[in-house]
Symmetry: C2
Subunit: 399 residues, 2 copies
């Protein structure tokens, strides 16, 4: 039996052929859960994102924020010697991850069917724009393309503004999260003797999975979601309001919270107004309610209102910049910013691991993001020590 303090994926090796965002984000999460991640990069330039800003002393923070704690080996997959090394690593790994266009791995001779025949216990995780099937399968896609195609952009923004992107690359991030879920599901299946599978994640599919009730609202009722600024489409008050010195979020999601809020604002009239007696009525009169609430909220500062409403138990918060949230004491208490010594950047600071497990400490053995091929010697030595027959590995059950 393993130590109960061990991270869940201790002993799991991920061979990571992915680049840029969706794949590396997935393998970063698996690394946070304790997996060993070996990054296979193109000789020379390596992962495309090494060239993406912002840069600190010439090193990409974009790349660094996704690839700390990983090892790197550069392989030219058209050279026999390097292909042989890759075969050795595939033999050693529990999971291979890639985010090429569908068909690329097949052209290289490392497609799922081939690998599954050679390495029957190897799990294969793939993320692409549109997945392995369907009319767009072979098309390239980037985050912006699926944000546009998948409908989320049509629901984001002010009612009269041009199309607005979600401020982060939610097309890639959602695919990375779903790929991690698929791989972990596949690991569980393998541990139960169900064999290894290929996980096929399409960025566009994942956008559909984020649409909530907007999809059934169209399909069942013909209603088409529209951008609503900061408002929730179904709940009120549930939006950003203006104060004397800025903004405040108030999310009084039910009658009880609405009543607490009216009391905290010293506005008993809100509770007597027949336009506001249910959530449905409040949402129907959302413009009027906004004006009514801001009449009071504009008289004091955001900080004053946050103190009052938090004391009253009303869900509320500031509209923080990234700088504000980075300084928040809750973030520090949760270990959500980690510092990693880096020879180029100095003190690399990135988001911590949001998955907190009782009795399992967050990883502290952080490694700086690797140089291209920076771990070649260690990886080759790992290969030499590896047992030739991976079926002898103990990390899954033959039932």
């Amino acid at each position: 039996m393993k130590d109960t303090e061990s991270p869940p994926l201790e002993g799991i090796t991920i061979l990571d052929l992915s680049r840029v965002l969706a794949g590396p984000y997935c393998t970063m999460i698996l690394s946070q859960l304790g997996a060993k991640v070996i990054k296979v990069e193109m000789p020379g330039t390596g992962d495309d994102s090494r060239a993406f800003g912002p840069f600190s002393n010439g090193k990409s923070l974009y790349f660094s924020s996704l690839n700390y704690d990983k090892q790197s080996i550069a392989l030219n997959l058209k050279q026999p010697a390097d292909r042989e090394i890759l075969e050795g690593l595939l033999n050693l790994a529990d999971v291979v991850v890639e985010n090429f266009r569908p068909g690329t791995m097949e052209k290289l001779g490392f497609g799922w069917e081939t690998l599954h025949a050679k390495y029957p216990n190897l799990i294969y995780g793939a993320a692409s724009g549109f997945g392995d099937s369907g009319p767009y399968s072979k098309r390239a896609a980037y985050d912006m393309v699926v944000q546009g195609m998948g409908g989320i952009m049509s629901m984001t923004g002010q009612p009269d503004s041009p199309p607005t992107r979600v401020g982060v690359s939610i097309g890639d991030l959602a695919a990375g999260l779903y790929l991690a879920i698929g791989i972990l599901g596949a690991l569980h299946k393998r541990s139960q003797g169900g064999g290894a599978v290929k996980v096929d994640i399409a960025m566009l599919d994942c956008q559909l999975a984020l649409l909530e009730d907007a999809l059934p609202a169209y399909l069942c009722l013909g209603e088409i979601a529209q951008p609503q600024g900061s408002r929730h489409p179904e709940i009120a008050p549930f939006q950003v309001y203006t104060t004397s010195d800025g903004f405040i979020v108030i999310a009084a999601g039910n009658d009880h919270l609405f009543s607490l809020m009216a009391t905290a604002l010293k506005r008993p009239d809100l509770l007597e107004n027949h336009d506001y007696t249910t959530n449905a009525l409040r949402r129907a009169h959302v413009d009027q309610l906004e004006g009514d609430m801001e009449r009071t909220l504009r008289k004091r500062t955001t900080k004053d209102w946050l103190d009052l409403l938090n004391t009253a138990g009303v869900p509320c918060g500031p509209v923080n910049s990234v700088a504000d949230v980075a300084k928040d004491p809750q973030i520090a208490a949760r270990n959500m910013i980690v510092s990693i010594p880096d020879p180029v950047i100095g003190n690399l600071q990135v988001a911590g691991n949001p998955i907190k497990l009782s009795g399992v400490p967050d990883r502290t053995d952080h490694r700086a993001p690797p140089n291209v091929d920076g771990d070649r010697a260690a990886i080759l030595s790992l290969l030499r020590e590896a047992k030739p027959d991976r079926s002898a590995k103990g990390n899954y059950v033959h039932a």
Copy 2:
């Protein structure tokens, strides 16, 4: 050995005490992976989200889109008889999921420490606004609160617009996704003999984990991310452009794609312009580049440009409404809309499972979203048949 066609979580039972969005979204994903989900609801009104619109024939599509394929039993956790039923279900389950404020389960007598002592193999998955620790731990939070606090709202919107919400509840959805990852990690740990853990997910932590390079850009360089409309902060051309009849997304993320695009637009001058020779230069001249490209793009329709650019291999796409994407042939080919017969709604249509596994068909045995307590008899009969000693269950290994 299980059938290789079995879904990964076949045989896993989830006891789901969660309500509204983050918890139910997580258990929906686990259900799509094959787990059996038993929803424990308050007698009478049940899950709060049953009262959230939009409604179809009086039934909530918000609730329905998250809770199909689940069973429901109503329990009053202050009544001894119902508490005894819950104990039976806890004894039977592999995982319990809840999204109350921290401390609520302890007050009910079902906190992690208590449950772990009684049911040592039970995994406990919790999502809350701020997690089990830190100064805000006991505060309530809803999606809007963490969208505001976590920084994503400060990066979303047009440069001059008021604070803009991500069009979906990304605060809840991200927490649901991370909770699913944590639970699957915990299942793997248990299967390796590492025991059961509590997974503690904070919605705010998950927002930090979505900020990409914006967090290190502030922490390492002092740069504070700003809303940029539809533009990517680091890459150009990578945004929405105006055509003769609407909009188009073009994501030419590297020099090669930029060259393909210029050729497809019959604009060789773009390649000769020294302002556009690298991505960094293109991003620095992003306003000028937008004008330069739109001079050509405004001459033809979105459909014309999509045909031309797709043929040329340039990543591009439309800005679809939810109605547009719902009709897209790629979505149909990927089985990303599923129809579920429902006695009230008729034909309930919701997003399909984005996790496609080779050799494992998507679930087709869909059940309508349950009524409150709708499966009481079946669940009680399951309890009567269950082995009294859950350690006799075969789905984990004692090494």
